[in-house]
């Protein structure tokens, strides 16, 4: 029996994103799938290795309390920024792609691209 915790859910979410990448032809849905994968990774990082009852490592924490590992959280702040950047860049490129090829379907865009060549 697989426990329902952050780790298993994040792996599930990750592969939901992968499924979206494989099965959806829509460019926007591909970008959304990448975002889903990113969220899954963030969830994985901050829930892995966490002890129940630990407090976040913010400000002065009393010595007696157990503090969560600060490193994954610091890393994930960076990753959130990267994720937003990637999504924004992807969507901007999509606007250009749509203007040039007039379609949101990968298959159709590919055909038109080869026609251009």
């Amino acid at each position: 029996m697989i426990a329902i915790n952050g780790e298993s859910i994040s792996i599930l979410l990750f592969f939901v994103g992968v499924y979206g990448l494989i099965a959806r032809r829509n460019t926007i849905k591909s970008i959304m799938s990448i975002s889903i994968m990113q969220v899954a990774i963030i969830l994985y990082f901050i829930t892995a290795n966490i002890a129940p009852g630990s407090v976040p490592p913010i400000g002065d924490v009393a010595q007696s309390l157990q503090v969560a590992d600060p490193l994954p959280q610091a890393l994930m702040i960076t990753d959130i920024v990267i994720g937003i950047g990637v999504t924004a860049a992807g969507l901007t490129m999509f606007i250009h792609l749509y203007h040039r090829f007039g379609s949101t379907n990968w298959q159709k865009i590919m055909k038109k691209r080869n026609h251009h060549d």
């Binding site: 990750f14 992968v18 899954a40 990774i41 290795n49 950047g85 992807g90 080869n114 060549d117």
Partner: protein
């Protein structure tokens, strides 16, 4: 000697500041700056060569906590190569119309990021740098804003982001098990792990991403599109194909070394490299587009390098590393000359380009020298590394496989060299830019020097000594001449009239299919590791 982090920061800072200076002066300043950077990277290399690895903890944190930069011999040699190639590229674009402030900013930032990836010792740091580099490369691919390039750029961007998501997921799992993200600490920590089964998932995730970056067999379909995009500036193609794809190989070497005590997949990757090499040259031969042919040939050479570094013998390993350097030199020369030929003839179709030798003599000479390098002609750099790889694999089936791969490379470049001969229907010689000619000529002479001074260079770069006889090895020479003859015969006998491989051109993977192949590769790695461990 400057600190390591300046090597990473200076190009970005300079690229930003230069925006304040008028373009004409700025271009010259950038060349000077790049020369200074090359000099300082050479000084760092000498320092590493003399006194061993340099380790720098940024921010003064103790080891394994903060970000560390680490310059060992391999890393500093790669940095030296990076600075050299960028100097050549920046000299090359001096008189190009697309070289404006923004281009130089992006180009210099790319240099910083590449140097950063080579020097970085922290896995998460590498992830961040690669993501940033992906974005910059995408913009550079799309730089001329042609329709085709926008599709290719977006494809490149999304595929690489997906791959890096796999990498980050693997990194998370690795951190959960081991608790460190530092390469050096990783090696120590992994040697303590008793049960290799628990590392299957993180390893499979990370190696999938790295294999995609290195463009191994099922995962290379993004590379020709990105490297051979018709409208991308030729310097960008040259850097991508000559240098950037080596980052995948570099990371692969680092990961394999870290995981070696637990997970040994070198046999699998020898086979994958072999398949990659063969598929690469078959597809290269099928192309009629100048740049696409070169891009597929890169795939083939990557396969060769993978065979070398996974063979497990010192000769093959160092031969593979030397081939990384060599391939960087001759492939970037070939891309630059291809760019010049395309600008002159206004077409990318190989059948329409004739008589480059007579029409553009300097470009012709540079092309011939680098072709001799890539096919491994005696006295040229390719022959040294290919000889070392085949020496290291003596007694296995790979030894004969390598002869076959080299034969394939020869056939591809016999086809490529067709554009050198014949009559161009143009009266006088072309007026190419003098700087461009100088750069391609210098780089192609490097191919020759890398062959003549082969063993000395290997000793200088990697501190290992392999005596390589240049001509006394008669078998090597005979083998090359025989393959050359057979290659020419096969080309003129079979393929001159009809390109039988052209059917492969119709097979093209879309975005969804590439994602599927990434997932399948990942699944295959998991199953393979489950069975073998």
């Amino acid at each position: 000697m400057i600190n390591l982090h300046w090597l990473i920061l200076l190009p970005i800072i300079f690229g930003t500041v230069v925006k304040l200076i008028p373009l004409k002066t700025a271009k010259k300043l950038i060349v000077l700056f790049q020369a200074a950077l090359l000099l300082s990277s050479a000084m760092i290399f000498i320092e590493v060569r003399k006194n061993g690895t340099i380790l720098e903890n940024i921010g003064g944190w103790p080891d394994t906590i903060g970000i560390t930069l680490r310059a060992d011999l391999l890393a500093s040699a790669m940095v030296l190569l990076t600075c050299l190639l960028f100097l050549a590229m920046i000299t090359f674009v001096q008189n190009k119309h697309y070289a404006d402030h923004l281009f130089f900013f992006l180009f210099l930032s790319l240099e910083s990021l590449i140097v950063g990836i080579f020097l970085s010792n922290d896995l998460f740091n590498i992830f961040v740098l690669i993501e940033a580099a992906t974005l910059i490369i995408t913009i550079l691919i799309m730089y001329k804003k042609a329709n085709v390039a926008i599709y290719d750029g977006m494809m490149y961007f999304l595929i690489n982001v997906v791959a890096m998501s796999f990498f980050l997921m693997g990194l998370g799992m690795l951190y959960k098990k081991i608790g460190v993200l530092d390469f050096y600490a990783l090696e120590t920590a992994l040697s303590q792990v008793k049960d290799p089964q628990s590392l299957i998932l993180p390893y499979a995730f990370m190696i999938t991403a790295v294999s995609l970056k290195a463009a191994l067999m099922p995962l290379f379909s993004w590379l020709p599109k990105a490297h051979g995009t018709p409208s991308a500036p030729s310097v960008v193609s040259a850097i991508l194909s000559g240098l950037y794809v080596k980052i995948g190989i570099y990371l692969f070497i680092r990961l394999q070394t870290a995981f070696l005590p637990l997970i040994d997949t070198s046999e699998l990757f020898v086979i994958l490299g072999f398949i990659t090499a063969i598929v690469g040259f078959v597809l290269a031969f099928a192309q009629n587009d100048l740049k696409l042919l070169l891009a597929y040939s890169t795939v083939s050479q990557i396969g060769l390098i993978m065979i070398g570094i996974n063979m497990g013998t010192p000769h093959a390993y160092w031969g593979g590393l030397y081939h990384i350097m060599n391939h960087a030199v001759f492939k970037s020369t070939l891309f630059l000359t291809a760019g010049m030929i395309i600008t002159e003839y206004q077409t990318r179709n190989m059948n329409e380009i004739k008589g480059v030798f007579r029409h553009m003599p300097t470009v012709g000479v540079a092309t011939v020298l680098s072709i001799l390098g890539i096919v491994g002609a005696p006295l040229f750099n390719g022959s040294i590394s290919k000889y070392l790889i085949s020496y290291g694999s003596t007694g296995t089936w790979i030894e004969y496989g390598l002869i076959f791969i080299n034969l394939g490379t020869i056939i591809v470049f016999v086809k490529y060299s067709q554009l050198l001969f014949g009559d161009s229907n143009k009266k006088e010689t072309a007026h190419s830019d003098i700087l461009e000619k100088a750069v391609v000529l210098c780089l192609s002479i490097l191919c020759f020097l890398g062959g003549i001074l082969g063993s000395a260079l290997i000793t200088l770069l990697f501190k290992v000594n392999f005596p390589v006889d240049l001509l006394s090895d008669g078998i090597k020479l005979l083998l090359f001449l025989a393959s050359l003859l057979i290659g020419i015969l096969i080309y003129y006998g079979l393929f001159k009239k009809k390109n039988y491989f052209a059917v492969f051109n119709s097979i093209e993977l879309g975005f969804n299919e590439i994602c599927l192949s990434i997932t399948l590769f990942f699944a295959f790695m998991v199953v393979y590791l489950k069975i073998t461990l």
